[in-house]
Symmetry: C2
Subunit: 448 residues, 2 copies
């Protein structure tokens, strides 16, 4: 008889299927360690990604491996978890099953934590023109475009074309847009300063375009103002109250306060998010209500009204906060909801009621650049150097994986001291043997 050594093989335990290995799913899996359940965590990627630092990968400050940890490694010591690298494509909620590319999985409880993807507000054709920043691949593509733009500017002789390559537009003035703009300004004015022969990277125009009246609209107005001033001093043009009406390869049409047309060789998207297709499928299958971005409205214990054994956590869940506004789609919310899963499932297993989920807001942080960040705590606002220090330590603290913390700390210390960004590699597919070469070589062989 086979001895069951690991709890994840013990089929007598109720099975929890978690979809998604982001902050919500991973914290849920970890918090369920003590419970008499077996867990299957399904993700189509084999790593957990620390999204708050993704903009650093996009701007060449960090490598993908610095901000990602293999999910299997993170959960290695927890013997009631099995990790499945697969993609969930549908649900059969009547039969308590999720359908993956590798077959159906039965569940007793389902935790959906699949997050959000970009929203182009109905203009999906903009995706190729203005990439957004959600995945490692996105970050490397943005890095490729940023660095290639300077290379193109260095090579071209037409001043108008050169200026177009040296113009970067970021659409969306939330934390991601602000962080990208700040890091790009530092890249252009600091790191790349003496790298080129024919251009001065400091001449780069960096535009931050925000539709509402101020950047960082979720922060107190005082911090928005300070951040805008700081960005302006770094050389970013902050265009608030300005909407994008159309996009072309190197051209943006704007309406509002700064109406007109801008030529920009690189356009990045940091404006909106919406529920990915899988979240929409779950909403349909469970006949759940959704909000405008497609986030699913849940019960106070984060379960679905029509399916009490299905929970939705993280960005995908629409949970009203104390002020009636939905909780923001940030990592701390997802982490706390993940941990709450242990409480609610423990109560369910005992047949007891569970108090509703309550978000404890410990504050929010956004970084603008070296020595500059804004922090909003319940009673205090911080800005500048103290906020930056808080930001650095909070972000390193929550990085998963001890080696990542050390390496990221060291890279930052190094970047800080030297203003260098070592991970400025342009990677990705490129033609190894060009058509032109083939022609030439073909011709040569014929001539011989």
């Amino acid at each position: 008889m086979k001895v069951v050594r690991k709890r994840c093989e013990d089929t007598s335990l109720p099975r929890v299927v978690i979809v998604g290995g982001g902050f919500g799913g991973l914290y849920a899996a970890r918090s369920l360690d003590k419970l008499p359940v077996r867990i299957t965590l399904v993700d189509r990627r084999n790593f957990h990604l620390f999204q708050p630092l993704l903009y650093q990968v996009a701007t060449g400050g960090l490598s993908p491996g610095d901000i990602a940890s293999p999910i299997r490694a993170v959960l290695k010591r927890q013997d009631n978890v099995e990790v499945l690298l697969s993609e969930v494509v549908d649900f059969n909620l009547e039969a308590n099953q999720v359908v993956t590319r590798d077959g159906a999985l039965d569940f007793d409880f389902l935790i959906m934590a699949t997050g959000m993807s970009h929203s182009y507000f109905g203009h999906d054709e903009w995706a190729g023109l203005a990439p957004g920043l959600k995945s490692i691949e996105d970050a490397l593509e943005i890095r490729r475009r940023l660095l290639s733009a300077f290379e193109q500017a260095e090579k071209c002789t037409d001043p108008a074309e050169q200026q177009r390559w040296l113009t970067f537009a970021i659409i969306g003035g939330g934390p991601t847009g602000v962080e990208l703009a700040g890091a790009m300004a530092e890249l252009a004015r600091g790191t790349l300063k003496r790298d080129f022969c024919h251009i001065d990277p400091a001449r780069a125009r960096i535009l931050l375009i925000e539709g509402t009246e101020r950047i960082l609209p979720a922060y107190p107005p005082e911090l928005s103002r300070w951040a805008a001033e700081k960005l302006t001093r770094l050389g970013v043009e902050v265009l608030t109250g300005t909407l994008v009406t159309s996009l072309a390869v190197d051209r943006i049409k704007l309406s509002g306060k700064h109406a007109g047309e801008v030529e920009a060789g690189t356009i990045l998207w940091a404006a909106g998010v919406q529920v990915a297709p899988l979240g929409r499928i779950l909403a349909k299958r469970s006949r759940a209500e959704t909000d405008r971005s497609g986030r699913i409205k849940v019960n106070p214990d984060l379960s679905l009204p029509a399916c009490p054994n299905v929970f939705v956590i993280g960005d995908l869940a629409h949970v009203p906060g104390p002020d009636g506004q939905p909780l923001p789609g940030v990592a701390p919310v997802a982490m706390q909801q993940g941990r709450y899963m242990a409480r609610v499932l423990s109560a369910r297993l005992k047949g007891k009621p569970c108090p509703p989920f309550r978000y404890r807001d410990k504050g929010s942080l956004a970084v603008i650049g070296r020595n500059a960040a804004v922090a909003h705590f319940s009673r205090n606002n911080l800005k500048g150097w103290p906020a930056w220090l808080a930001w650095v330590f909070v972000h390193i603290y929550y990085l998963i994986g001890f080696d990542n913390k050390l390496v990221v700390m060291m890279r930052w210390a190094f970047n800080y001291l030297t203003r260098k960004r070592g991970a400025r590699l342009i990677t990705g597919p490129f033609p190894t043997s060009t058509e032109q070469e083939k022609e030439i070589f073909g011709a040569l062989q014929v001539v011989d």
Copy 2:
């Protein structure tokens, strides 16, 4: 009047065009700092790659950014160099021009240092079946295949299919093949040991297939024997005297000592190199003699017989060593030839003769695994722990970029102490919204 601030803008200086930013090209550029020349270094990548550690990226021990440095950053302080990110596609040697994708470049002296690419010995259709290891993209593709194979094995229920996914074949027993085999054995038997629920990664079969009678044929027989024993103890099956006669997706036909058929889910190529198309074009255009792999035969001062102002260095050059055999295609040869460019050009500018290039062989090193390497110096052979230490320090010493050295040193210390490999990310393009999802979602919308 515009003041010329940088020597690279001083058109009165003779112009040296260097093609390729590998060891040869980069060391040539650096060594020409003191000479009254202006230099244009052309590469299609914006970074110098430390190829000897590429196998570490392929096996998840290091990140791409750890072993690459932006060429512009490396040459930043040298004001007689201009870096051009472009691709050379042809030569017009009568007019002293190289043709790039961005137009023609005039040169007074040309230094070709474009290295080699894989050779499948006439079986180019094998490239997709058995990727080789030359670029960052190659390394990430190999990493993706290695790690995905374990994921596939974990998911499948058919024992034969599982064993196929757990079989890895490396074709070619030179340093790259040996290093890959050793690192893969440690990955399977160490790092991944407790990562899976349904498979035991230690059951993985790792085959190292070599056509000649011993692995590491360029080393003394004693070291080859020791390396084979060490690999065997790590769990690698070393099949020497064995040739590959055909390849399919998961199947290899072998002839020779271990004739037969092997089913392997992952096949890697470390067997042969040949000159890339551009080198072949140069050979044709200059009517230079080439050897079997297409390497160009040069004068004792590394110039081309028909074009005395064109030099070929690094792997692309066929230079006889003291024993009459061509020098091996390794980094130290390329570095010394790069440095020799300063001597030969200095002499040329003064109209003096230059002594021929002489390679000073300081020894060679190959690593097998943790604590195990072989080193061959002129008088001594080293193996085991002392060779491993020598290997680690030599490789860190020659890594270009101070931050890389620190980070790589730390990652190694960490990997060494914990046997972890933190950079085990499966990245690359994947379908974000699958056909299946679209169908389901389309159907749902119709139903509504």
